[in-house]
């Protein structure tokens, strides 16, 4: 029984979860909800209309169809719910907007779900209203090229430009490295608004190497044969940029987050998450 370990470990927390649900109406509301402030504490339109959830037997989770990882993440959320003896309730965010500010997730969490799957563990990367579960897998930012002769970043002569998805952890690491080099040894680095734009800039010849989120490359190559010949190159002389991915929650959901963290640990330990990643061929690793 793949989940027996998880069930044994989580029996105590589940009891506490049930007690918390019963006592919740007696507890004071978090002060943060009374202090709206742009960026620090987001404001969700109609936030005062979202009532207390009634069904505590469900794990309500959100995935976003625009995220290349959404199907694998949904399968992992289903497994977490099962480990917690909760009924999974999936909400798929549907939108055509290309990029959104993370504060939008605040309203989604208030209205639709307890956890939103698919967020990177970045130190100091989140405001106080949000907290993350432990990572359920790790994946990387990768350097990609369309040139079959480029196998490593070291193969790229300095005039060759790099298109980096703007503002990412890997982009900053690259810029830090370049700032330490003499000007003539720097690769010109062009910030690209999205992973897709960075990859497209490889095909149209604007750049020789792109720096993108590995799941985005994976999804692009599955969806569009024009990207099939792109290949990941060795990041040397830079180290790889690996990030854990977990689920975003409201920071006051401390007990549920502890329970989910334990479930994730159990699901990594018993191989469940690795099986899900393998099923989707997803470029990530589940590490204990």
């Amino acid at each position: 029984m793949p989940f027996s370990f998880a069930l044994r470990r989580l029996a105590g927390p589940l009891l506490a979860l049930a007690l918390t649900a019963l006592l919740a109406p007696l507890l004071p509301a978090p002060a943060s909800a009374q202090e709206p402030e742009f960026f620090d504490i987001p404001y969700a339109y109609g936030q005062w209309t979202f009532g207390r959830r009634l069904d505590e037997s469900q794990l309500r989770y959100c995935v976003d169809r625009r995220d290349p990882a959404w199907e694998a993440d949904a399968a992992i959320a289903d497994a977490i719910a099962e480990a917690l003896l909760l009924e999974p309730q999936r909400y798929v965010v549907e939108s055509g907007i290309i990029i959104e500010d993370i504060t939008k997730v605040y309203g989604i969490l208030l209205e639709h779900c307890d956890v939103h799957m698919g967020f990177k563990l970045i130190p100091s990367g989140y405001a106080a209203w949000a907290s993350l579960t432990r990572p359920y897998y790790e994946t990387q930012y990768v350097f990609v090229s369309a040139d079959p002769d480029i196998h490593s970043l070291a193969d790229l002569a300095p005039p060759g430009p790099i298109g980096a998805t703007s503002g990412t952890s890997a982009h900053l690491r690259l810029i830090s490295y370049l700032m330490a080099l003499p000007a003539e040894k720097r690769w010109p680095t062009f910030p690209m608004g999205t992973n897709d734009i960075a990859l497209e800039s490889l095909l149209n010849g604007t750049v020789d190497v792109a720096l993108v989120w590995a799941p985005s490359l994976w999804a692009k190559q599955r969806a569009d044969p024009a990207f099939a010949d792109l290949h990941v190159i060795d990041p040397t002389p830079l180290p790889p940029t690996t990030l854990g991915v977990g689920a975003l929650m409201l920071s006051n959901e401390t007990f549920l987050r502890t329970a989910i963290d334990e479930a994730i640990a159990a699901l990594i330990q018993d191989g469940t998450i690795a099986e899900i990643l393998a099923k989707y061929g997803f470029p990530a690793e589940a590490r204990p």
Partner: protein, 583 residues
């Protein structure tokens, strides 16, 4: 019918006649029937009791010639009426007033016409925003001919009939799904609607633009890109990065119009993302053919309204890396400078430095510092070029200290100019920031915009007063007076011919100052929310009113972290408050 008694039939008939008569009387008295067509001549010289555009007049002064309410009687000001607006969402509203009718745009894009004397609703029109677009307001709108012209959060411009509220036309200008949208409305100049685009971020490279539109149909006539392109000195000012890597240059506030020169003067915001190490402007390219000023960010553009021709530009802050916009109001002021009469464009950037350029040729004239700042070390007295303090430039892996912080020593709250005192009235705040460049790529779709983290703190040796209203002489740039208080000043200033300056605060007060001394002449009772909007004054049935929207709308409200004792209601109510003297 057969069971009705005869007296009842008479009663019903009489009642019906009475109702018809009342309706006829109401129809006769409906103030909307008196609304006249807004002509070009009217926009050039608005009636004293009207507020027909964002800053009331083309020169951008935000000044009213009304004087029924004055220094002597402003202390008697009372609430005349109030109107609740749709709660939630940010709205930084400028009501427009024409012939006693007041037009407002709620955050949900519910547009309403109210009787300016009574506050009674006359008509309303609900614009349908897509579900994906959060309802938020627009800072201003325009009125031209028989139409009220509004911008929307999903990048449309629409026109409504001023008398009926019916949609006349609807023009989509850009795709909101790529990030584009409007946060401010248009100005109409020489018969052309001029509208600036906002939110030109990662979803669609190439930056923002300003468009001109046919006032009768909304059809786009021309487009000026706010990010320079092509093999020109301006186009090569982006450190060698290609067009698909250039972001920002939002034109998120309306400009001013000089009919003598037939030129629009409008501002452009900063590059995106803010830190130069993220947006490609640093490290600086060694290519001698490129520079990294990032034109036309943080500039004034002089544009001919019929053709869209960019006549000239002046950049105030090159290579901005701290979100220090120079996008705000452009005031057209004619005064002597060093003994010579000059036609000036005066504006103030987030750094709080007031600057004047000659609006005939773009020459830089003078500057005046206001709030404590450590970003600019010096300003060239001839060109206005700034030497930036290198210690304030954000670096990866290091926390830097800059004053003011990212919301600015001044923000979208407009400065105003009074020809009565020849003074500029500036709402400011004093604060600093410990700034760290952080990778803000938490999700694949959801990002932090690639911004830095700004930990906002008071200025060194702060007296605890975060908010100020400053009066600065435009004749010799001397300080006339300054009012200081704990909570930030969060509305625009409104000077009038009555010698008073109205302003609103984060702690829910609407105040009136003596325009010459800064003495507080009147303070309202606490209103329903902070006052983060553009106050206006107007007449209805010959009587002067002063109006302001109470709401919480970010901007300087972000400084609530510095004044945590200021509590605001959680459901973010919005309401229009209208004050008048007792009859």
């Amino acid at each position: 019918m057969s069971i009705l008694k005869l007296p009842a039939i008479f009663a019903i008939a009489a009642s019906s006649v009475s109702l018809l008569a009342m309706q006829a009387a109401v129809a006769q008295d409906n103030p909307i029937d008196k609304v006249s067509t807004v002509t070009d001549e009217m926009l050039l010289n608005p009636p004293d009791g009207d507020w027909l555009m964002w800053r009331r007049t083309y020169n951008g002064w935000g000044y009213s010639p009304l004087d029924q309410i004055n220094k002597e009687n402003v202390g008697d000001l009372k609430l005349a009426w109030a109107w609740a607006m749709t709660p939630g969402g940010r709205t930084q509203e400028t009501p427009l007033v024409h012939d006693g009718i007041i037009y407002i745009q709620n955050s949900t894009h519910l547009i309403q016409a109210l009787d300016g004397a009574t506050g009674d609703l006359i008509w309303e029109y609900q614009y349908a925003l897509p579900d994906e677009v959060s309802p938020n307001g627009e800072r201003n709108k325009a009125i031209y001919g028989d139409t009220l012209i509004l911008a929307t959060r999903d990048a449309h411009i629409i026109a409504l009939d001023t008398k009926t509220g019916k949609l006349v036309w609807d023009q989509q200008v850009a795709d909101f799904q790529k990030g584009w949208g409007y946060t401010s409305g248009p100005i109409v100049a020489n018969g052309v609607i001029i509208q600036g685009m906002t939110s030109c971020g990662n979803g669609q490279p190439g930056g923002c633009f300003i468009t001109g539109h046919d006032a009768n149909t909304g059809e786009e006539l021309w487009r000026v890109h706010t990010i320079a392109r092509g093999d020109t000195p301006e186009g090569n000012s982006w450190n060698g990065i290609p067009l698909e890597s250039r972001h920002g240059g939002s034109a998120w506030l309306s400009g001013s119009y000089d009919p003598d020169q037939n030129l629009i003067f409008t501002g452009v915001g900063q590059p995106y993302p803010w830190p130069a190490v993220m947006n490609g402007l640093l490290p600086k390219s060694s290519d001698p053919d490129v520079t990294n000023e990032a034109l036309y960010t943080n500039s004034t553009l002089a544009i001919e309204p019929k053709s869209g021709e960019l006549k000239w530009y002046h950049q105030y802050l090159a290579t901005d890396t701290l979100d220090l916009d120079y996008v705000y109001e452009r005031m057209l002021i004619d005064l002597p400078v060093n003994g010579e009469e000059r036609k000036m464009v005066v504006t103030t950037g987030k750094i709080g430095i007031i600057e004047a350029i000659d609006r005939v040729n773009g020459d830089w004239l003078w500057s005046k510092e206001t709030v404590p700042q450590n970003v600019v070390l010096s300003i060239d007295p001839v060109t206005g070029e700034k030497t930036i303090n290198p210690e304030t430039i954000p670096e990866i892996g290091k926390t830097t200290f800059n004053c003011p912080a990212d919301p600015g020593g001044r923000a979208w709250q407009a400065t105003a100019y009074s020809p009565r005192t020849k003074a500029l009235y500036l709402p400011t705040v004093e604060f600093c920031s410990n700034t760290s460049v952080n990778p803000l790529d938490p999700g694949t779709i959801y990002t932090g915009g690639g911004r830095a983290t700004f930990d906002r703190v008071p200025v060194a040796d702060s007296d605890g007063n975060i908010g100020q209203v400053r009066a600065v002489s435009m004749e010799d740039q001397s300080d006339m007076w300054m009012y200081r208080q704990r909570a930030p000043i969060t509305s625009s200033t409104l000077p009038t011919a009555g010698g008073v300056v109205f302003v609103g605060t984060l702690d829910r007060k609407f105040m009136a100052f003596d325009d010459e001394t800064g003495d507080v002449l009147w303070t309202s009772g606490k209103l329903s929310n902070s006052l983060e909007s553009f106050p206006v004054t107007y007449t209805a049935n010959g009587k002067q009113y002063v109006a302001i929207v109470a709401n919480w709308a970010s901007g300087l409200g972000r400084l609530q972290s510095l004044t945590p004792e200021v509590k605001l209601p959680p459901n973010n109510p919005a309401a229009l408050y209208v004050f008048a003297l007792p009859d």
